[in-house]
Subunit: 226 residues, 2 copies
């Protein structure tokens, strides 16, 4: 149950159908929603598990990725404060047949509306169903963007975009990530990332040290990314 006024506000603002549901339905959402805390790197959800429910990010940020049998990863999308995600209630979406994992990229708090409640209200209310539909379409679009990058974009461009994104997330010119980790995010191999970073360094765009990448020439990096 949500008791904190701020949490209830976040809930209301995220559930865009709030004014179109009855006060009983509103009460059900507030009474059954919970705050969950996840430390950095903890798994929030795997679609192969039981259905969790609708997730709203209160603080921190989450990363959704696909994992291959051999342990290769690719990042599908990220969720920041006030983002909602329906993939944590994937059993609601009858034809979703793929698996993905959602993990906390920083210490994060989420508001969770359990599937037992969200699923029930969604099946009887067209506004909630429309909201579900919009969330699925959003994630679909996110994934198509990644696909476009992977299929059509050169790797230097993808890496430049990734470094700029990561620097924005960390709010710093210094990115604390191993090459291995960057490779996982981009569905690539460590060697490929290291080679490209070396090339970026030789052009004075970044400075690579142990476990760190520092952006030295943001302008050039943005040119590469655009």
């Amino acid at each position: 149950m949500l008791t904190n006024v701020t949490d209830i506000e976040i809930l209301k603002n995220n559930l865009t159908f709030w004014d179109q549901i009855s006060s009983e339905e509103q009460k059900m959402f507030i009474d059954n929603a919970n705050i969950e805390k996840y430390e950095k790197d903890k798994i929030v959800y795997s679609t192969s598990e039981d259905c969790k429910g609708l997730t709203i990010v209160k603080t921190g940020n989450l990363r959704a990725y696909m994992l291959s049998e051999s342990g290769k990863e690719i990042t599908l999308y990220r969720l920041f404060e006030n983002d909602s995600c329906i993939m944590t209630a994937n059993c609601l979406l009858k034809n979703i047949t793929f698996d993905m994992i959602i993990e906390a990229e920083k210490d994060s708090e989420i508001i969770l509306i359990p599937f037992s409640v969200y699923g029930k209200l969604s099946s009887s209310n067209i506004y909630i169903q429309d909201f579900t539909n919009q969330l699925v379409s959003s994630r679909f679009s996110d994934v198509m963007w990644v696909m476009e990058q992977v299929v059509f974009m050169s790797f230097d461009k993808r890496l430049a975009i990734f470094l700029l994104e990561q620097s924005a997330i960390e709010g710093s010119d210094i990115i604390n990530m191993t090459h291995e980790n960057i490779a996982k995010n981009l569905g690539s191999a460590r060697e490929v990332v290291s080679r490209m970073l070396k090339y970026f360094q030789s052009s004075d765009i970044v400075y690579v040290s142990r476990g760190n990448i520092e952006i030295k020439n943001r302008k050039k990096l943005m040119e590469l990314a655009s």
Copy 2:
């Protein structure tokens, strides 16, 4: 308007919510649906155009693909007889922000329910909205499958799967496609396809001639694909 009994049957069988809508709504679907014919290679729809409506494939088959600025393609999914597609009514899906093109891969006939009718009925009927939702999830899953292939799978495996699929579609061991065209389907380059086909040929898996690829050892090809 659909007048042919077979066409009305196809409509009823595809719209899984048929028994849950009123007879007035059923009549609206039948009265407003139309048959459209497309010759092989004709564009059926581009999401950057105006909203068309719900598509049901009556005969033939359609291919949905993404196109890069430089003209590179990747196949996202295919639609066969009795498949429905909601991406031809993408304006209904508020958060779909990507573009794709759907073309006829063979001479094809579709049943089209215009957006003016489908959108209207969908916005007031929860069963139709649920159907929409399921169709979006299906396409999302299709695309995730392609993504998994592109990111995680070796190219020999992807090409083997493609040749087997194409042979099933054409109902023949001989695949009438240029290397250029195969590359487009797989978001790859012609040189890469030619090199891999040459390798397949050296292992007596296929025989490559001008504009043709003949499957010589289906068992080996299936081993590569699995």
